[in-house]
Chain length 241, copies 2
């Protein structure tokens, strides 16, 4: 390999990481804007979240293509291979995160046509802020290559579940109290579920960072909802549970 | 490379494909059993679906490890590399499919403690059969390497969405008619959403098969829910829309 080739190879890897980081920034903004659009009933913002999602889809395809090309032409091994494969995994999680943000914004656009649903939308906003924070933290951990920070995000997974469960009960109570709100509450219910899923993707990202840095699979047991201790209408865990 | 090494390399690739196919069979069974457990209020079956999910998680980790090892040691290119990367992608979709089946079974266990929710559970069963069929078809396409069959599954994506939307309205009407059923109906609502997501994973699998065989990205436009033509309480598309 000539010095030039070696340099270009390193550049390609750095570029891949940089694009994942960039995609992370966009996904983080999409989630924050989606939540704001719901909380403020901001139709213009909601629409722009929906439109901007295509950008994340394109970035994911680009990152995947570059990673495959890099594997085929450079045949990376060890940490370089982990870094390349991780970039594909992270891009997938970030693309899904964007999809979920888009879906939240879409539901927000529908809710904006009806009555304000406060305090319910405030509860969504609170849960949204918590999830956004976890996403931001794990992306910081990625950018800084700080494994402890990634593990810290992983360990706070249950906070989101607790938030989701109480929000779920709040919505159920509201629906039972006023059946005319069932349609709107159903959208809020799915928004909460989408936020929970975004939290799960933050957890996946933490696991991928752990793998990329250590080469080991993260073996911790993720906190789980326990059917035996569940209340009358328990909410099973996120769909990945 | 000695003849032996070459043979071993081919064996490794074949084994990877075989394990993905096996994982597909298990995921297919999990989905079918989850639906049956709900339709028949079969608690024993529901519990076994929940327990068997760990098998799929283990298989995915195994397939991923083998694929990474193969890339690192064999440095496959062209169609071999596509096949290796596809096996990782397919394993991820099948693992998620298993998670969703497990979640459906968990909700079924909760519903089994309450009143029978027919005809709603029958509607879930109908949608479940449709989704199971698509999953079976796309796995057949994978086993047979038949691209047309994979594309056919891809093209019927909207059937599931239509099914979901009518089921969504049916559940909403039911809840409004009898608010005491809201808790149970919410579980059915998430079951329907989980089935829709399983349908999306079948679509992803079809796209991965297309990529593995052709080396090209599938460029067709997926049918989408259109907010402008939506009814009063429209149901936004699957969370990936």
């Amino acid at each position: 390999m000539t010095q030039h080739t070696v340099k270009a190879y390193g550049d390609e890897l750095d570029q891949l990481t940089a694009e994942v980081a960039r995609m992370g920034g966009l996904a983080e903004a999409q989630v924050a804007d989606a939540i704001d659009s719901v909380a403020r009933r901001d139709v213009a913002l909601g629409r722009s979240v929906v439109e901007r999602d295509a950008r994340l889809d394109a970035l994911q395809r680009e990152i995947e293509k570059k990673a495959i090309r890099l594997i085929a032409l450079r045949q990376p091994v060890a940490s370089d291979l982990r870094r390349t494969l991780s970039s594909m995994k992270l891009a997938t999680d970030l693309e899904r995160t964007g999809d979920l943000a888009k879906n939240i914004a879409k539901r927000g656009l529908i809710l904006a046509e009806g009555d304000p649903m406060q305090p319910l939308t405030r509860s969504i906003e609170r849960m949204g802020k918590l999830v956004s924070m976890r996403l931001r933290d794990v992306l910081d951990a990625y950018a800084a290559g700080e494994i402890e920070r990634a593990v810290a995000v992983w360990n706070t997974d249950d906070e989101v579940d607790e938030h989701y469960n109480s929000l779920f009960r709040e919505l159920l109570t509201y629906m039972m109290g006023d059946p005319r709100t069932i349609g709107a509450c159903t959208h809020l219910l799915f928004m909460a579920k989408n936020l929970e899923r975004i939290g799960d993707h933050a957890t996946n990202i933490a696991e991928t960072i752990y793998y990329e840095i250590t080469g080991q699979e993260f073996t911790g047991e993720r906190p789980r909802w326990n059917p035996d201790t569940a209340e009358d209408i328990p909410e099973p865990p996120a769909d990945d549970a």
